[in-house]
Symmetry: C2
Subunit: 360 residues, 2 copies
């Protein structure tokens, strides 16, 4: 079967021939439909994040997959079931650990997990993949086309849950939210927040000139585009309003600190970017004081667990079709990998298609 890999010597994604995997006991064989491409893939490709499987010189890319069960093997799935795989797995040779046993692999610390397509384990960008049944989440057939968006939506489901829980010891009544970053995750998050009746006013920050498809999407969702070149994050409260919720999806580390300044009293910032080391000056006294005197909170969030995938399936079903279509700027076959991995201003979200879903 064909698979998309990067190798130690050649970091350009390319197609190689791999044997079709055989499901082990408890695993199903899945025929891959689509696999999304996101910022993490670009970091993996650039060698800035992730790692090869132990002893391997190649990594099969892809962690945002949707597929159809081809061989249920000894699992409870049926042939034809549409499924999305979660990303984290036990490290090779490890029988189990408390995080996986609790169903919370997203909370496992380094060394207690690998991530398929990212760190230490082959991903899903291949014609077929196998997965233990407990790491496969059922998706309604009608959503098969958009199933590659379940994983990124699950990332925000987890971040929302962490942020909300951090405000659960008092009566938190948020109305305003700011998403930092107008990439695909940022836009998906704006659309998700738009489904939440509490958020009356949504803002999304980027640094693009009009006309631009991401600005169009923000505005069609009823949100306000904030150009960070005109309105830096610390000025957002004065120019717009203080934000009850800030979602950072840029990986630009200054934004993590500026989030404190953008927050309203009792607000919470969810941090999701994964920046490199970067030293800079902050008015740490003021940030510290604001966090304390205004009861603000910051929560870091990585990965997601099965319950977040299940919530994401429901969320995806509620997102407007026009938005998903506009978000997805291209779905490409293996003969057009360079378009699938393009990262320019006309690209929002892309996916690689391995098989078409036969609607029954």
């Amino acid at each position: 079967m064909q698979a998309v890999v990067v190798s130690r010597e050649d970091r350009t994604p390319r197609v190689v021939e791999r044997p079709r995997p055989t499901p082990a006991p408890g695993e199903a064989l899945v025929r891959t439909l689509r696999v999304g491409v996101d910022g993490t893939d670009h970091e993996v490709i650039a060698g800035a994040h992730g790692d090869f499987p132990p002893g391997a010189d190649e990594l099969v890319l892809g962690h945002e997959a949707v597929g159809v069960v081809e061989d249920p093997n000894d699992t409870d799935f049926e042939r034809g079931d549409v499924v999305v795989p979660t990303v984290r797995r036990l490290p090779p040779g490890q029988d189990g650990n408390e995080y996986f046993e609790r169903g919370e692999p997203d909370m496992a610390p380094g060394g207690e997990y690998v991530e398929r397509g990212i760190a230490g384990a082959d991903g899903f960008m291949a014609e077929y993949f196998t997965s233990p049944a407990e790491h496969l989440v059922p998706v309604p057939k009608e959503l098969a086309e958009w199933g590659f968006l379940v994983e990124p939506v699950s990332i925000s489901e987890k971040a929302f849950e962490l942020a909300e829980s951090a405000r659960s010891s008092f009566d938190w009544t948020p109305e305003s939210a700011l998403v930092l970053g107008n990439g695909s995750l940022g836009l998906l998050t704006v659309a998700m927040l738009d489904l939440d009746d509490r958020f009356e006013r949504l803002y999304c920050l980027g640094r693009r000139d009009r006309p631009d498809p991401t600005i169009d999407a923000i505005e069609e969702l009823g949100g306000t585009y904030v150009d960070s070149r005109e309105t830096p994050v610390p000025e957002v409260p004065e120019v717009h309003e203080p934000m009850d919720f800030v979602y950072e999806a840029t990986g630009y580390s200054k934004h993590a600190f500026e989030t404190v300044e953008a927050l309203a009293p009792n607000g919470v910032g969810a941090l999701l970017g994964v920046p490199e080391d970067r030293t800079f000056e902050v008015d740490g006294g003021r940030l510290h004081r604001e966090l304390v005197l205004e009861n603000k909170a910051l929560v870091g969030s990585v990965n997601s667990r099965r319950s977040h995938f299940e919530a994401a399936v429901e969320t995806l079903a509620a997102l407007p079709e026009w938005f998903l279509s506009n978000l997805t700027t291209g779905v490409y076959g293996l003969d057009d990998l360079s378009a699938a991995f393009a990262d320019d201003d006309t690209t929002i979200k892309t996916a690689v298609e391995f098989h078409e879903h036969e609607k029954r």
Copy 2:
């Protein structure tokens, strides 16, 4: 009656004569027993925090009070009830706001509250004070002697609640805790954490030489003293262990950022200090990345509400008597104010005594 004030011209606490207050409808008159002195008082005295009541040139100090109901007036209290007042009140002239209506004055933003003895309202350092009944928390008579500690304990009750809630979306099983700061609030917090069976290992950071009464108290509680001059906060994980919970009670702003480095994966830091502006360099990329990839959280916490005072009363009853005695290095009358407001290495916690409690 006698009251302890600072004035705009003279920031040294001194005794002045004030009329005994008359309780308004819904208020009780309280005969003051003791009023504690803490770091916030020292900041108020120095003019670094807080404000005078509108139009006033003097501020009656004191926000950590315990007293006995002298005149219940039209409230449900009885003469002789031991009570502790909460600190926040509605601003003068304001009929109400959503935070006070919800019983969450601690979550009110600036402009929506005053703080007795700190900002915009006279405190409790007087022979008598009045308070609306809903801001008076009953205390068992046996605890009257230590009732001035209910307020500081309530501060940590709130911080614990915020921190725990920030970890409530997963199975958080903390074992290690680090308290930054060996002042009276830091020591009280170590003693409170010692009551929590989950925390098997407690650490408290300071910068004092042995022999020192705070180090003795930490060690008698079974905790480990960490000298920040030998082991800076970022080195704590290597020298001791990564911390599931960090409680910052220093007001030293670098500690707010170093807290991220001291935390174990999935850990949470509660920030309570109130520093001045202070600009310094941070490796913001690394801190941001650690927050995200290790699911860490920071929560700022200020003040406390009635439910935290009620929890504090129960906690105080459970704290060992030897600890409360060692913590309280002095209880002074109005003729010895300079001792009550001393801030040297032999002082941990002091209180001003207005009336002795007659045990019945």
